[in-house]
């Protein structure tokens, strides 16, 4: 079955950010397809290249990057939500005249259209960390 996951929760904000990652691992291990992970609202913080937890602690951005590499995942971060919360790639940093970019590699900024398109392509779309 083809899944899309929508992540609304930031690391440390709630359990949903970790649950989304574990759900992604489980569905891939079960032989399902993960069409896209769409990071929206506070979920954009999962894509920060600057998150620096202690070395003996698990890092969600790093865990998503590794999973994406292993399975060639499409990790899309809503650009409007990201800009509001200070998650910028090189292009946006330049466009908004900001001193730095911090979108982790493996993630891509794009519009809500990527969510709508995923809604068409996927058999199941699940939200993690709604109610925020």
């Amino acid at each position: 079955m083809k899944f899309t996951l929508v992540v609304h929760c930031a690391p440390y904000q709630g359990a949903a950010a970790d649950t989304a990652l574990r759900f992604a691992r489980a569905l891939l291990a079960g032989g399902h397809e993960l069409y896209r992970v769409f990071f929206y609202r506070e979920g954009v913080h999962n894509a920060s290249a600057l998150a620096s937890p202690p070395r003996d602690e698990h890092s969600l951005p790093l865990a998503w990057q590794r999973l994406a590499q292993e399975y060639q995942l499409d990790l899309v971060v809503c650009v409007a939500a990201a800009l509001r919360r200070g998650i910028l790639d090189e292009n946006e940093a330049k466009r908004h005249e900001k001193p730095a970019a911090n979108l982790a590699s493996g993630f891509e900024l794009s519009g809500l259209g990527q969510l709508s398109e995923a809604l068409i392509q996927s058999d199941r779309v699940l939200t993690f960390g709604g109610r925020g």
Binding site: Y40, G113, L115, I120, G130, R131, G132
Partner: protein
């Protein structure tokens, strides 16, 4: 391919977070892709429908106006639940825009026929 129906569920009060506005953004984006959208406002989200909100004072957009334009984008299924209305002591006919009210069995049926759910 037939355009699949999308259910957007919002449960948050209008100014508690960006949820109310973000739900509308998702609905409009789906409408651009010609996806049939149903919007279900539950719990505190029913407060988004209180009439005559003067939200300019806190620098926020008025949810009545934002929800009111949705029918122009063919999003005309706006639902709430009897429980949500009872929770806040509201009457559906006094709300703006006025929602369609569903009971628990109807909500269960609505969820059962939507494999694609965005909740916020």
């Amino acid at each position: 391919m037939n355009a699949p129906e999308v259910l957007i569920i919002c449960r948050r009060a209008p100014y508690a977070s960006s949820a109310a506005r973000d739900a509308i953004d998702v609905a409009l984006s789906c409408a651009l892709f010609a996806l049939p959208v149903t919007l279900l406002l539950l719990d505190d989200a029913v407060l988004q429908l209180l009439p005559d909100q003067q939200s300019g004072g806190i620098g926020q957009k008025n949810p009545n106006a934002m929800l009111g334009v949705l029918p122009m984008y063919d999003i005309d299924r706006l639902y709430t639940s009897t429980q949500s209305l009872a929770l806040h002591g509201l009457e559906d006919v006094r709300l703006d825009p006025a929602p369609i009210v569903l009971d628990q069995a109807e909500i269960r049926a609505l969820l059962a026929r939507h494999p694609r759910v965005i909740m916020l």
